[in-house]
């Protein structure tokens, strides 16, 4: 069996998805009714996201700014810059107009993921706007996977050029793979997504100018999804060989000398600063080096990691068009202001100074945004987070204290506590009545939804809770507090970070009351986030609370809340490290631990190519999760709010949020356009920052 994905099949699947949820999609419609004047087009995406058209279109027109430069002789003609037939995007608001700026806000200088999400989601294969399992063509227009999931053949989109006009070919990929990713001086750590489950590098060969083949030694069933998630570093097709060779010691014997002249430590230091991720700081050269050729719709203009404003301008060689053949992107410039707190960003948004943003808005900011949206002409967007649970109680299954460990690993203990939680009250008070009681499980609507895991032990029933707890801690003292096996009152402490976890602290306060009803004493220990993580890493904690992530497509990629996997799932971090990184990294669980069975299943998922089979196996894995009941959940995470300017077209008003998804990247920001581009200009950098001073000076004293 061979897998061939083309734009056409992608659209059919998406259209199916639309019919299946067609009844609910319009119900959550956004308040901008004036959109209708442009006439909505069905893009095939349930949430109105732009999508790939099923045919290519010849480029016909370009931005007036570029036309001027062509006139002036600075740029070649449009036809010489683009493929004869270019990748075509369609959006719900149709063909747009050029101009305007898109303004966003970064939360601190290290929030470069925001730039990546808007300007640089150009992976080999893409998630679509609905985040379905069906991957759509990106830089690769078509691909084949061998039945045993060891050989992947990618056919690159023809006619793509780097942002300096040089053609993009399979040679660039081979160079990036062999000379950068496999070069330990440039890439010290392992490149996990490129390695098969046994940790071997594949063999990468350029079959012709536009065809690349990757041969893994062991089956690598999740490789395509790993390519689509594109978050960390832009993946292996980001290296323009013609530009980077000059900095590479293997290609340029003067590279070392050049590095010295330019003030770099050595050639590797220079290379990573020019075209890769810097070794010391982890800064991405794509946001620092305006000369670096890229495949993205916008190229950095004002570099990141310094100052208070980052900008990116249109790539004159971008290789996609709208349905009339207008070269994309429509919008001239992306502007990212750097602020140092989410509150400031909320105030910026409330004053209408953010064009489109789906991150950094806590639930608490919602009234602020909702109350000012009419005055400042923006709307709220509905962001479905991949977070599947508002708070998970991770009891330390590897507690150093024998007695604590015995209690914490007892299913009756966790079941009892779970039944004693009044989740409806928590939802009402802390989460604005939004969300449903739920355990740690993939969200309803995700392909991996597992009803038993999601809904077991949920009923608020004190008698049942007491029954369960009597199995573990039957004795009580005069005040009704349960006694531990050693006869002293049984208490445990919950570590909660003081910053940014206001909601968690409030949930814990309520839970403390609920559990006191059944004789369980919980102490709340608020502490600095770093201290808390330190205690977690040392295993010296009773209970660690966190919100549950990876509840949608990414559940299969990051299953740490469903089985011990890496050190993120704090309930058994040491076992998880043992599984991922071997004996040196962690401790092996006891022979009868359900973890062993889960790992066996997951190993099989990793070598399975068939997506349906993967989902089946995942379901089996979650069966065991339900049996093990690793963590106690509270409720499903409510959707978050984002903002969109009412004049912005083609941008989705509902979308998914996850780092693996890189929203809003899969919704093609290149196709967004402004109704009044002349008015869509970012405010002055100094004004933007002055706003912060004002806000910090007056409204909230330190």
């Amino acid at each position: 069996m061979r897998y061939a994905a083309s734009a056409a099949t992608a659209l059919t699947v998406a259209a199916l998805a639309l019919t299946s949820c067609g009844a609910t999609a319009p119900a959550a419609s956004e308040p901008t009714e004036d959109n209708s004047s442009t006439g909505h087009i069905d893009t095939g995406m349930a949430n109105g996201s732009p999508a790939l058209a099923d045919q290519l279109t010849a480029p016909t027109a370009e931005s007036p700014q570029l036309a001027e430069r062509v006139e002036a002789g600075e740029l070649p003609e449009l036809q010489d810059r683009m493929p004869a037939e270019a990748v075509t995007l369609i959006g719900k608001d149709g063909v747009g107009q050029y101009g305007g700026e898109l303004q966003m806000a970064m939360n601190g200088n290290d929030d470069d993921s925001l730039i990546r999400r808007y300007a640089a989601y150009e992976p080999m294969v893409r998630w679509d706007g609905d985040w379905s399992s069906e991957l759509t063509p990106g830089v690769a227009r078509q691909w084949e996977v061998s039945e045993d999931a060891t050989t992947y053949t990618f056919h690159l989109q023809e006619g793509i050029r780097w942002s300096d006009g040089e053609p993009f070919t399979s040679d660039d990929i081979v160079f990036g793979y062999q000379d950068v990713l496999m070069n330990e001086a440039l890439t010290p750590g392992p490149t996990e997504y490129l390695m098969d489950p046994e940790g071997n590098w594949p063999e990468v060969t350029a079959i012709d100018e536009h065809t690349v083949e990757l041969k893994f030694q062991a089956p690598h069933g999740l490789f395509l999804m790993q390519l689509a998630r594109a978050e960390e570093d832009g993946k292996f097709h980001r290296f323009p060989r013609h530009y980077l060779e000059q900095f590479h010691a293997d290609y340029n014997s003067d590279a070392e000398q050049m590095a010295e002249e330019e003030g770099y430590e050595d050639w590797a230091d220079m290379f990573t600063a020019k075209g890769w991720v810097t070794l010391g700081t982890g800064f991405d050269s794509r946001w620092m080096n305006p000369e670096l050729p890229q495949l993205n719709p916008w190229i950095i203009e004002n570099p990141a990691y310094e100052g208070t404003r980052v900008t990116a301008v249109r790539n004159p060689y971008y290789w996609k068009v709208d349905e009339d053949g207008n070269q994309l992107p429509y919008i001239d410039r992306l502007v990212f202001d750097v602020f140092d707190s989410a509150e400031v960003i909320a105030f910026r948004a409330a004053a209408g100074n953010i064009s489109y943003q789906d991150r950094h808005f806590d639930h608490d900011f919602r009234p602020l945004l909702a109350e000012s949206m009419d005055e400042y002409d923006f709307s709220l967007i509905d962001v479905t987070s991949t977070d599947m649970n508002t708070l998970l109680f991770n009891f330390n299954h590897i507690h150093p204290d024998e007695q604590m460990r015995e209690v914490f690993t007892d299913l009756n203990f966790k079941a009892g506590l779970s039944h004693a939680l009044n989740r409806d009250e928590i939802i009402e008070l802390v989460y604005f009545g939004q969300g449903e009681p739920a355990q740690a499980a993939p969200r309803e609507g995700s392909p991996y939804y597992h009803e038993e895991l999601a809904t077991q032990y949920l009923d608020f029933d004190l008698d049942l809770a007491a029954e369960y707890l009597d199995e573990v801690l039957p004795d009580k003292d005069d005040d009704g507090r349960r006694l531990g096996p050693d006869g002293t009152p049984f208490t445990f402490a919950v570590d909660v970070a003081t910053d940014r976890s206001v909601e968690h602290a409030r949930v814990l306060e309520l839970a403390q009351g609920h559990w006191a009803e059944v004789g369980i004493t919980m102490e709340i220990q608020s502490m600095d986030r770093d201290l808390r993580n330190e205690r977690r890493d040392a295993g010296e904690f009773d209970v660690y609370v966190r919100d549950g992530s990876a509840g949608l497509q990414d559940a299969i990629l990051r299953p740490h809340w469903y089985m011990p996997y890496g050190d993120s799932g704090a309930y058994a971090w040491s076992w998880g490290s043992y599984y991922l990184d071997g004996e040196d990294a962690g401790e092996a669980p006891p022979q009868d631990s359900p973890a062993w069975r889960q790992w066996e299943i997951y190993d099989e998922i990793l070598v399975t190519a068939d997506q349906e089979r993967q989902a089946e196996l995942m379901h089996e894995l979650l069966d065991v999760s339900a049996e093990a009941f690793w963590t106690i959940g509270v409720s499903t995470s409510p959707n978050r709010a984002g903002v969109v300017a009412n004049d912005l077209r083609n941008a989705p008003h509902e979308l998914f949020e996850a780092s693996a998804y890189q929203n809003p990247g899969p919704s093609y920001p290149a196709l967004w356009w402004w109704e009044n581009p002349d008015e869509a200009v970012a405010d002055d950098e100094e004004d933007a920052q002055e706003y912060v001073d004002e806000y910090e000076g007056e409204d909230l004293p330190e």
């Binding site: 639930h363 919602r366 008070l429 502490m527």
Partner: protein
């Protein structure tokens, strides 16, 4: 410094005409002189009453607060303050004090509850009514009567509004008084005692004793506070409750924080010990202890009072900043700092300003009162000075 002249013994003879009984001044005990002068400082007298009232509130918090501090009601998150009306609803409950109930509406876009007064829902209030919340009155006997509360125990009663969990801010502010006006002050007193003792010893004896004390002071001064706090956070036993930890921290901080006061006191004592009246007392054969107690310390009073009154508000405010390190007070303990901390988010500022206003007002009023009281005491403690 004018105070130096002010302590010259001849001064009482010149007591000004403003004094009511000038002729007796020389014979009156200095205590009654202080009291008389204090009474002339109107602001200080008012402040004294305020401080007394604040401490009475702290002592009788259980009786005054209509609800226990932790009592929450999921039906009334962020309920706004109610106003009390005098009316007769005409249903047999008679004329009396009433509050209106609320009608509420949940906004699906902003996820905010909007409250309005429900004109048809009236809850009668009464004095010394049973509230359904048992407590031990001053540790003596069990009761559930509250000074001022609704007759129906479950009626919404939010004089100063409600917080996110539907807890009564009025009650919480009252309970907050207990912690805010006590724990921090112990630390202040401790550092005061250490600072004055060591400073006075160093200044009075000079020589090697002074040298040793000065070196010790320098060592303590060189300790960096922030890393010290972090170390303390890790070192304190984890089975202590947050209140104990906070108490321990304030004590430890005061064990480090006495240095500057000790330096100041030493300087003052060095100057004072060569004053004529001190020399005279020594030559008259007064013992060292008597010289220090009777002649030197009283001259220091104004200075000490000034530093204490400044330290107290600082301590109340420090309570919140410590919380960022996980060392300060944390919920479920209720103090003004904790209430302020809970109000420090956009939602509270925008939709429930009373969360910020009530505890701020409590802090401002008490610190101002303490400052004025301190001013009054300082001026009064130098009864001979203002007369010049």
């Amino acid at each position: 410094m004018t105070t130096l002249e002010g302590t010259i013994p001849e001064q009482p003879k010149d007591q000004g005409p403003s004094s009511a009984e000038p002729a007796d001044d020389g014979k009156r005990s200095s205590r009654s002189l202080i009291w008389r002068r204090f009474k002339r400082h109107k602001l200080a007298v008012v402040s004294l009453w305020i401080i007394i009232a604040v401490y009475l509130i702290a002592i009788f918090a259980d009786v005054l607060a209509p609800r226990p501090a932790a009592h929450y009601n999921p039906d009334y998150p962020y309920a706004p303050p109610q106003s009390i009306t005098v009316t007769d609803p005409g249903d047999g409950r008679g004329l009396g004090l009433y509050v209106h109930g609320y009608t509420q509406e949940f906004d699906e876009v902003s996820w905010n509850r909007y409250y309005t007064e429900n004109p048809d829902e009236l809850h009668k209030l009464g004095f010394f009514v049973p509230s359904g919340h048992e407590y031990r009155f001053l540790g003596l006997f069990e009761t559930d009567r509250k000074v001022f509360a609704p007759l129906e125990p479950d009626a919404p009663f939010y004089l100063f509004g409600a917080d996110a969990n539907g807890r009564d801010i009025f009650s919480r502010a009252i309970y907050g008084t207990q912690i805010s006006m006590s724990i921090g002050l112990i630390g202040v007193v401790l550092s005061l005692i250490i600072g004055i003792t060591l400073g006075a010893l160093a200044g009075f004896f000079r020589g090697p004793i002074d040298a040793v004390i000065q070196r010790i002071t320098e060592v303590f001064m060189s300790l960096p506070t922030l890393p010290l706090w972090m170390a303390l956070a890790a070192a304190l036993p984890r089975d202590w409750g947050p209140l104990t930890i906070y108490f321990a921290i304030t004590v430890l901080l005061s064990l480090i924080g006495w240095t500057s006061l000790s330096r100041e006191v030493r300087g003052r004592v060095l100057t004072l010990r060569s004053e004529d009246y001190v020399v005279a007392a020594r030559l008259d054969g007064a013992s060292r202890a008597r010289v220090i107690r009777r002649h030197i310390l009283p001259s220091l009073t104004s200075h000490i009072i000034a530093s204490v009154t400044l330290a107290v508000p600082a301590m109340i405010l420090a309570e919140t900043s410590l919380s960022f390190l996980g060392l300060g007070l944390q919920p479920p303990i209720v103090s003004w700092g904790v209430l302020l901390q809970e109000a420090q988010n956009i939602r509270s500022v925008i939709t429930a300003p009373w969360l910020l206003i009530v505890p701020s007002a409590a802090v401002v009023i008490s610190t101002l009162a303490l400052n004025f009281l301190g001013d009054g005491l300082r001026d009064a403690a130098d009864p001979y000075e203002g007369a010049k």
